[in-house]
Amino acid sequence: MAEIAYWEAIRRAHDEEMANDRMVIAMGEDIGVAGGTYKATLGLYDKYGEDRVIDTPISENSYTGIGIGASMVGMRPIIEIMSINFALLALDTLVNAAAKIRYMSGGRAQCPIVMRTPGGTAHQLAAQHSARLARMFMSTSGLRVVTPRGPIDAYGMLKSAVRCNDPVIIIEHEQMYSLKEEVPDEEFFRPLEGAEIVREGSDITLVGYNFSVHLCLEAAKRLEADGIHAEVLDLRVLKPLDRELIRKSVEKTHRVLIAEEDEAPVGVGAEIMALINEDCFFALDAQPVRIHAADVPVPYNARLEKAAIPSADDVYQGALKVMGKI
């Protein structure tokens, strides 16, 4: 057991999967010689060569498409897109091709690709490097969408994604790459389905995914000091959603807050809210609250950026509101 950073966990998963199966390749901008913008493939170019750790030109749609084509003949490409904003360029091949090929071929072809990308705000990267877009992928049939909150899931879910026969979108987060966690030394896999209770509580459920799980955990600590026992539920997987665990938790706590870094309209929180209405409306003792980003392009100015993005304090205040304390 060693404490490793999120990026090291991703790198280790790449390394092990590439060692295990020569059909596994990595593709992306600057991932080879340069070792990756977030070091997720550091050293792998030297170890596996330029045919398996492929530096691509800045052609997101087509290199993603090449990965998809290769996956149709048995390869297992791990495709890195440097920022989720750039993934918009690859929507044709991801959404029109990868997500639909199994279905429109009547199950006769498949695209077992993994697409990894950081989706979230960092520090003053402004509007074109701060998109989140989780809601866009989670509304596309034929994809799996996962959001590892820490090194254990980042490692174990990438390994599972490589072996899974479906296209898997892994949404990481710029602010989490240096996050550390104890990760077992022996190989393990983390499943691509299922939410997880990451903190037990009895008074309110704080639902998060990706970076917002950490906001929820921080808020839960503060709530504890106020005598409020908050349960934190990490969705982990946005597609397919684990509605069963959401229901169970809400039926236990009777109160719920959903924290998302995405903008609210037609978002992850809206979907969770709808599921709660459908599945456990009568279990609620208070109106649910959504904590989300402002509906604006993310500003450069640090003060404005902070105002646009939810914080742990926003989650804390929101929880007090659900509890009727403010």
Binding site: T93, R108, G194
Partner: protein
Amino acid sequence: MNDADKKRLLKEMIFFRRFEDRTFEAYMERKIGGFLHLYSGQEAVATGVLEKAMLGKGTGNDYVITGYRDHVHALKAGAPAREVMAELYGKETGSSRGRGGSMHIFDPSVNFMGGYALVGQPFPLAAGLAMGCKHKGTKQIAICFLGDGANNQGTFHETMNMAKVWNLPVLFVCENNGYAIGTHIDRSTAVKDQYKRVCAYDMQASQHDGMDIEIVMEAAEKAIDFVRSGKGPYFIEFMTYRFRGHSMSDAKSYRTREEEIEWEKRDPIKIFSKRLIEQNLLTEDDIKAMKKEIDDEIENDIIKFAEESPEPKVEDLNKYVLDDHPDPRWIGPLQQ
């Protein structure tokens, strides 16, 4: 080419024409829905190129991929005609189990990797298929058929670049029929000769008559040999014409009858029939008998199969969205 092959190829082209004509009738009878794009007029290209490809080896075949005008490419690649017709009828026995329709014929059992509605999409997918062949070290190549209109997509430029940089075994076949749906190439494209556009990527390229199957075959053989020998990608352009509209809803208002008549004189089936008659390989009567035999097969076997096949079950609606039998080690659920 020996005499038997010549006769076989003529018969194949006539079959493809009659197959498409029959789908037109079925469309009018509303047996076929959606969009239907017919290949009539362009038969020499798919037939001639794929005649020179590695086929008949099932999953050892060369990989073939194309756009939405895909019936004939699928048939020539080896997809059973019954299944292609059943797909158009939306039946469970169809090539794509009734889930794809006319624009999305798939038959991976013969490495026909699909028809796609987004015209620029097969470029990168084809390069990916080629990357797979190269990685596995097989002698297979990928062959991508698309029209001239597709070359105005960004994926054309992105893929030509990467195919060349990575020296991928892929043959891009441009079927230049002069129109992107209803817009003439002169009005949409700065460079009229499509093969010249890939010189920007230092790629081997050539342009040929696409109405004469013997010319197509000769050019395709050279291009395929080039690609298969590991020299990298090749872009081959064939000048051709589609006799019908873009799809069934096309009144062809954008082109003149005179232009159509000029091209109809160069009908690939007429050209090749005439040549085989001149070479005393066939008579007019032989060709009539050939057509009769084909029509009987289409009606009594292919259409019958499509008509009588069952539709997909509604309870199977969610089948094929994701892997229906996933390995629980990777998928879960998560143990709490």
